[in-house]
């Protein structure tokens, strides 16, 4: 399995790279098809995405809503700027925590790499204030995630 790499470009961007064992067409679809997005873009164990809208065309809207199943959750909205299947997508998104974070401008490229695909995502690095808000929210949700991981580690959940 390939490892995710994260690098910063100055104070403006952060670049995430990750390889997947599937064709660019398959991976591109997994990033754009709401039915597929709902199956993996979920955050911690136990979270779901009851609402997933992805316009699929330039100018189209994005709206993802996450729920922890206990009344907690948050959502993200965005707009698609460019789409060049299965090579490249450009969109903006913001999280509502519930105040909207500044726009995150994201360029995602899908490059054939042997029998797989290298996905490179260049994102806007949030400013210090936004990072603080995200960390505060992340920590709140992260406690639940760490409990879930602990359960898995010790074989407490039914799946073991």
């Amino acid at each position: 399995m390939s490892k995710l790499t994260l690098t910063t470009e100055g104070e403006t961007y952060v670049v995430a790279k990750r390889r997947f064992e599937a064709s660019p067409e398959e991976v591109f679809r997994a990033f754009m098809d709401p039915e597929l997005i709902q199956q993996w873009m979920l955050g911690p164990e136990g979270w779901t995405m009851p609402v997933c809208i992805h316009g699929g065309v330039p100018g189209g809207k994005i709206r993802y809503e996450w729920s922890d199943g206990k009344g907690g959750g948050f959502y993200l909205t965005g707009e698609i700027l460019e789409l060049d299947p299965p090579h490249r997508s450009v969109h903006v998104e913001r999280m509502h925590l519930p105040d909207p974070t500044p726009d995150n401008h994201i360029v995602t490229t899908f490059t054939a790499d042997g029998s797989g695909t290298l996905v490179t995502m260049r994102m806007t690095l949030p400013d210090a204030e936004t990072r603080k808000a995200m960390l505060a929210t992340g920590m709140e949700h992260g406690m639940e995630a760490s409990y879930a991981r602990m359960e898995r580690l010790y074989g407490w959940n039914g799946a073991q």
Binding site: M1, L4, A16, V27, A30, L135, G138, H141, G142
Partner: protein, 120 residues
């Protein structure tokens, strides 16, 4: 997409500064700022024994600067969120969130591939 592991415990600054006073330990922290590593991997660049590196790691863990997790017989080390700037903590949270999603996507892509194989 976000989500960090756990809220770190506050440790005394004295212990942290004492831990940072040693050049080997500072070098270990510099290596860990590049990402997780096992004690074996950490020991490689140093002209000292692996048990000696283990002792340095233990000091860093006790100072709350490094955390270790259990992975089979390995105990990979990484910087504790408490030791990091908010930028590093943000990146760590981003990494954790993305990796968790991407591992789920790995499984989804593998299932799709299997489905295709059986239908042809």
């Amino acid at each position: 997409m976000l989500f960090i592991v756990a809220v770190p415990e506050q440790r005394s600054l004295d212990i942290a500064f004492a831990a940072l006073a040693d050049p080997t330990r500072r070098a270990i922290l510099a290596r860990l700022s590049q990402g997780e590593a096992t004690v074996n991997e950490l020991a490689k660049p140093f002209p000292i024994s692996q048990p000696a590196v283990s002792r340095h790691v233990r000091v860093l863990v006790e100072a709350g600067l490094v955390v270790q997790r259990v992975d089979g017989t390995k105990r990979p080390c990484r910087l504790s969120p408490a030791a990091l700037s908010d930028l590093d903590r943000y990146l760590e949270m981003l990494r954790e969130g993305l990796e968790r999603n991407y591992q789920r996507l790995d499984r989804l892509l593998a299932e799709q591939r299997k489905g295709k194989d059986t239908s042809t």
